[in-house]
Structure formats: C-alpha cells, structure tokens
Amino acid sequence: MKVEFCRTGGVAGTRLTATLDTERLSPQETARLRRLISTACFFDQPTSLKSSTSGADRFQYQLTVEEGDRIKKVEIDESCVPRTFQPLIDYLLDSCRARRKKKRS
C-alpha cells in the first residue's frame, strides 16, 4: 500500500509532503497505518470535503491511497476533517516532521 500526503495553505503558505510505502515500513507501523485508514473509512469518503463557511489561513490536505488496483484521492479542508479521520492526519503530519528531523540531522 502507498500513501501520498500533502498539506498546503496556512498563513505561512508552505507545502508539507510525505510518501509512505508499507513495503518499507515495519510490520507494526504497517498495521498502525492500515488501522488508521480503516478507522477513517478512507475509501468511503467523498473525494472532496470543502468548507462552505468563512475563514482564512486554514490548511488543505490531499491524501492518495493506492492498494492493489484500488486508488483513491481525497481533498479535505482542515475545518472539515471528520473526527474519525483526524488520527490519520495527525499520524501523517508526525511522519512529515520525523522525515524533516532526519533530513536536518
């Protein structure tokens, strides 16, 4: 399974990305990632969850999950993230930060 994650927007306007491939993750991490995707009901989500309310400087998330011949891309505004989806977002953000830390050191 491959997961591509991208966060854009925010007041800083920066771009944060992460790519995860279960072939390169430990069995524990793979199990955790699968659990998060399942809890998020990822493949049942609409492809776009856009905010209709006012506001500015929120983040936008793009997630693509590819498994076998299944591939799905979801775009979500920060203010629209379903509660069951948030742990997956948090995990992917932590992955971005860990990757950054590694790059720095």
Binding site: G9, V11, T14, T53, G55, R58, R97
Partner: protein
C-alpha cells in the same frame, strides 16, 4: 468578562455581507425593513443576529451607510473602545477555550496571551485612529483570540469569528503571536469579510491575502512609527525558528526572497504577473500569488514616501471598503486603487501616478 452575549452575537452575525445563501433564512427576505429593524432592536440574540444580517445584506442597503446608521447604533460600542478577550485552548482544538485575559486585565506571565492582547490592540488603534474604523465590523466587534491552539500547531488563522494562534513546532516555526504583523493579518481577514468579501480562491483569494499582508505590515510600521523607506516589508519576521535559512514568511518588497531552506523549500512568491503561479494547491495559490499585489502596494508606498498608512494605506482601505466585490481580480484592484487615488487627490496627481506606477511595476498597466 462582562460583555453581553447579545451584542457579541449580533456583532458577529450582523453587518456582514453574505458569503453564502445558507447564512440567511430565505423566508426573512420578504419581511419589510421596518419590521426587521424592530426585530433587530427587540428580538432574542438569535433573532437580532439574522434580522441585522438580512438588513445589511439587502442590495438596496449596500453602500447606503447613512441608512444603516440608526441600526448600527444598536449594539454598537462607544467608538474607540476596545473589547479584547484572550482564551487559552491548552493545546486542544476546541474554541474558544478558557478565558485568561479580558479587556483591561493586567499582564500575566504567558507571552502568547500578552502578545495576542497587545497586537490586537495596536491593530484596533491603526484601524480606528488612521482609518476611522471601529473594530472589524465598524460597530465595535469584540476581538477574541485563542492561543496555544493544537499540538505543535504551526499556523494562525481567522475562523470567521475570532483569531486563533498555534505555538509552532519549535523546529521550523516559533509561536505565531510573536509577529505583530501576523496578528494584524488575521484581524484584517475579518475586516475583508465585512467589506469586499473577497472569495478565498484564485485571484480574489490572493487579493484577500494581500490586503491582510498590507494592513498587517502597516500595523507593524505604525507601532514602530516607521516610514515606508525605514520599514523592512517582511511578513512574519521572527516567526522562523533558529536554524531555518530565512528572514520571514514573505517579503512584500522582494517576493520570493523571504526564505530558502532545505526543509521549508524556497519562497514561491512571484513579484510580477509574468510569473503568476497556476496551481490547485492552497485554493489556487492565495498565499503564493499575493506576492504580486503585495509588491504593488510596496512600490506605491515607496513612490509616495512618508508613512505608508497615510496615503497608500488610505487608498487601499477605501478600495477594500467601497469598491471591491467578492470576485474582484488583480485588474479590478489596480483599476479601483487608481480611481480612488484620482478621486481623493485629483486626476494626474502625484498620488494617482504613484498608484499607477506601483501596479505597472508588477506588470499590471491601467
């Protein structure tokens, strides 16, 4: 905090130009204005909110500020009166959080709380003393800020009702209240919402972002009593953590030069129309393409000299308040700022030429 919930509800929902039809109950459109005024005066908090909103949404009322003055008197605070409230989200995401400082309360030990309080105060003062505007909605709206939002949250935002600030991740970003122009930036999103209502997408969204950077920068310059020449024109200076190769989030003077870091990447902002970025990211690049109108403002202010808020700021404010519409483009902003300069200072005046020159510098000839 002694502020009445009635006033705050009315102030937030009322007086705001509609952004979506879902904000207004369709049944209320057939209620005559005299009846709406009575409801706005005597209804419950919720009734006052939609009555006020319906009145100000009327196309007939739009631009007729005198007609609204009687209604505006209801629930308006005395002009020049700040109503700041700071909340602490305690690293959670529920808003507004726990109230930790109200208007007039003494400083505490929490730097983020004090910065949000002071920064929103200077922003209020700029708008009131320089532009004659009584808070975000022109009616003394409360200035609510939440600090310590989220965990390692590297952002600040306006949610349609209040400002929200994260603490940063400590690796790339410091706490977001550290930069007063970021505070002014967020508050200005509220002003824009009540005025032009610039849609947060593509060029209108980049204009929305630019006005926030313009007035955010003016807040910083005003506090420091700097001229346009003395100002650094950097947005978010001090926000980047130690070790990050960069000066700030953005440069209005030289878009694209604020940072170039192994992790953060390179500042993607263009400073000319020929470099306009077409992207689906960031609602069509609203934080990217804002570099173009940002630079137009800088070029105008430098040509005019003196304090940037005195003339350039007045022209930009009047344009935002009276001329622009939700779908306005860069071209519209250029045309209207030139027209406002003509109306204020005369056709062919130095001021009008400066505005024209500012936009020409970024490839927008009007």
């Amino acid at each position: 905090m002694t502020d009445s919930g009635r006033n705050s509800t009315m102030a937030r929902a009322g007086g705001r130009t509609a952004r979506s039809s879902s904000d207004v109950c369709p049944i209320h459109c057939i209620i005559p204005p005299y009846m709406l005024k009575e409801i706005a005066r005597r209804g419950s908090a919720g009734q006052q909110a939609w009555a006020w909103q319906t009145l100000t949404l009327s196309e007939q009322m739009r631009g007729q500020r005198q007609a609204l003055s009687v209604i505006a008197a209801m629930g308006t605070t005395a002009t020049g009166t700040k109503r700041r409230t700071i909340y602490d989200a305690r690293n959670g995401t529920r808003l507004p959080g726990r109230m930790v400082r109200g208007e007039g309360d003494p400083r505490g030990k929490d730097r983020a709380v004090n910065e949000a309080y002071d920064g929103s105060g200077v922003t209020y003062d700029l708008y009131f003393k320089v532009f004659g505007r009584n808070s975000i909605d022109e009616r003394g709206m409360r200035l609510d800020s939440t600090v310590h939002y989220g965990r390692n949250y590297d952002n600040a935002f306006w949610n349609g009702q209040q400002m929200v600030y994260g603490d940063g991740d400590g690796e790339l970003f410091n706490r977001f209240t550290i930069a007063i122009d970021v505070i002014g930036h967020e508050l200005t999103h509220g002003v824009t919402e009540y005025e032009a209502g610039l849609e947060y997408q593509d060029q209108s969204g980049a204009l929305n972002e630019s006005f926030s950077d313009v007035f955010g920068s003016l807040v910083k310059q005003y506090k420091r009593r700097q001229t346009a020449k003395e100002a650094d024109w950097l947005i978010g200076k001090g926000l980047l953590a130690r070790g990050v190769k960069g000066k700030a989030l953005r440069s209005m003077k030289e878009p694209g030069t604020a940072y170039d870091d192994d992790i953060l990447g390179k500042d993607p902002q263009p400073g000319h129309m020929t470099d306009y970025v077409k992207t689906r990211d960031d609602n069509g690049g609203v934080h990217i393409n804002s570099g173009i109108p940002n630079r137009a403002f800088y070029e105008t202010a430098i040509r005019l000299g003196g304090n940037a808020w005195a003339k350039a700021g007045q022209i930009w404010y009047a344009t935002l308040r009276d001329k622009l519409r939700p779908a306005s483009s860069f071209k519209d902003a250029a045309r209207w700022t030139v027209a406002v300069a003509r109306d204020r200072y005369g056709a062919g005046s130095l001021e009008q030429k400066a505005v024209r020159g500012g936009w020409a510098a970024v490839g927008m000839r009007v």
